[in-house]
């Protein structure tokens, strides 16, 4: 049996626990399975994907369950009603990505679908199409889609042949070279098209991720396109992963045998991984402005902005004169899970944290 544990921001039922109260401690998410609401899951949850106020859980069976804000149909269910506990989306799926108010799904045949609201081209369906139900965006074919990532308003797809496709908000260059429309550059890419990033060789891209309004790549070095100006990033060791918060980037680096995290970008609320700490990292996941690591001791720690309980309750006894000062809502590797049940996956969203465990 498995469980999906969560804490953090919950104003739109995005934790799927049947209420809309923020959670400072981990609670088990609820799933409606064959008419029964349960926290015990027979199938293995393999990924938790988070939008602005909605959440998807993908299982090893190809099933996807969703919950949270569904005003525009972003949960993959007929739009309107908030989904209070996780409910199954019809069909079998290979991949999923979520943005602010939209969802992108890829089925087992490589067909891409979208739903939700996309005023800046997020749905990839052209201008003025409503996303109240899942609609097919493009068919890449079986086994063609390697990876799909969405952030606030844009989506990037990497194909098995390493070509990059994308759509959505392009105004800051986050989708690469913008076409000219009259005297101006296009600000939105309304339908999927192959992307070209100046100075980037698609074939060499090993990792990529999408920030709030930029896209980051790691090939032999780190490159980013969009709002943040590219900084020269020097890395010692082998980069084995890349994830972005909304306004900072995080590389998973292998040094001899150990994994560590090297961060750069916005550090207004401790978003950059604390360099004084040296936990043995096994996995990491990155949310909007906080991150999670799984250590070799099977404990999960959170760092960054934790105002909604997404970094757990503070274990120390620090007292802050102003409860809402940046220091009071900033966390530096706070332990949120250290029980015996093995942690299988991490997930992290807009001030939400997710841990999947295998029940002993």
């Amino acid at each position: 049996m498995y469980q999906v544990l969560c804490c953090g921001s919950n104003g739109q039922y995005q934790l799927g626990i049947g209420n809309d109260t923020d959670q400072l401690e981990l609670v088990a998410a609820k799933f409606e399975i064959d008419g029964t609401v349960t926290t015990q899951l027979a199938a293995e949850p393999v990924e938790v994907v988070c939008g602005g106020n909605h959440t998807l859980v993908l299982f090893s069976t190809g099933e996807i369950y969703s919950c949270g804000d569904n005003t525009f149909g972003q949960c993959g269910h007929q739009g309107g009603q908030t989904i209070e506990v996780f409910r199954k989306i019809d069909g079998k799926w290979a991949k999923a990505a979520c943005g602010w108010e939209f969802t992108i799904l890829v089925d087992l045949e490589g067909k891409v679908y979208s739903c939700g609201r996309g005023l800046k081209g997020e749905l990839g369906l052209g201008k003025g199409v409503d996303g109240n139900q899942l609609r097919e965006v493009i068919d890449f074919g079986p086994q063609a889609v390697l990876s799909v990532r969405s952030s606030l308003n844009h989506t990037v797809v990497q194909l098995a042949d390493k070509r990059l496709f994308g759509w959505g908000n392009a105004r800051k260059g986050q989708l690469g070279v913008q076409n000219a429309i009259g005297t101006k550059l296009e600000s939105v890419i309304w339908q999927p098209r192959q992307l070209k990033f100046e100075g980037l060789d698609d074939l060499q891209v090993r990792f990529f991720d999408v920030g709030r309004d930029y896209t980051a790549f790691y090939s032999n070095d780190y490159k980013e396109y969009g709002k943040k100006a590219t900084e020269k990033v020097h890395v010692n060791g082998d980069v084995v992963g890349l994830r972005t918060m909304w306004s900072s980037s995080h590389l998973l680096v292998k040094n001899e045998k150990h994994l560590s995290i090297k961060s750069f970008g916005n550090d207004s609320h401790g978003q950059l991984f604390p360099q004084s700490a040296h936990p043995v990292v096994q996995q990491f996941e990155i949310g909007s402005e906080h991150g999670l690591i799984l250590t070799d001791q099977n404990s999960v720690m959170a760092w960054g902005w934790g105002e909604h309980g997404n970094c757990g309750e503070r274990s120390g006894d620090e007292v802050y004169e102003d409860d809402l000062s940046a220091a009071a809502v900033t966390y530096s590797l706070n332990t949120i899970y250290n029980q015996a049940h093995p942690v299988t996956r991490l997930g992290s969203g807009c001030a939400t944290s997710w841990i999947t465990i295998r029940k002993l």
């Binding site: 921001s9 104003g11 739109q12 995005q14 602005g52 106020n53 602010w100 005023l119 606030l152 105004r171 309004d213 918060m245 909304w246 306004s247 916005n266 207004s268 609320h269 949310g287 909007s288 402005e289 902005w305 105002e307 909604h308 809402l324 000062s325 940046a326 809502v329 807009c350 001030a351």
Partner: protein
Amino acid sequence: METIYDEIEIEDFTFDPITQLFQYPCPCGDRFAIALDDLKDGEDIAVCPSCSLMVRVIFEPEDLEEFEEELK
């Protein structure tokens, strides 16, 4: 001292002519908001009703003209 989370260009905000509010997504799931009148008064800090984060709105006074047009 107030910590500003980020700086956001006015073009990235959505303007609602009915409430006369400019809004932009906050990493907590809610939205930063600032009123057109506040911007006209020279205010530039948008706040989120659900958390303590704040953003500075990047704009020039003349940027506001097109939004005032929308109200007419």
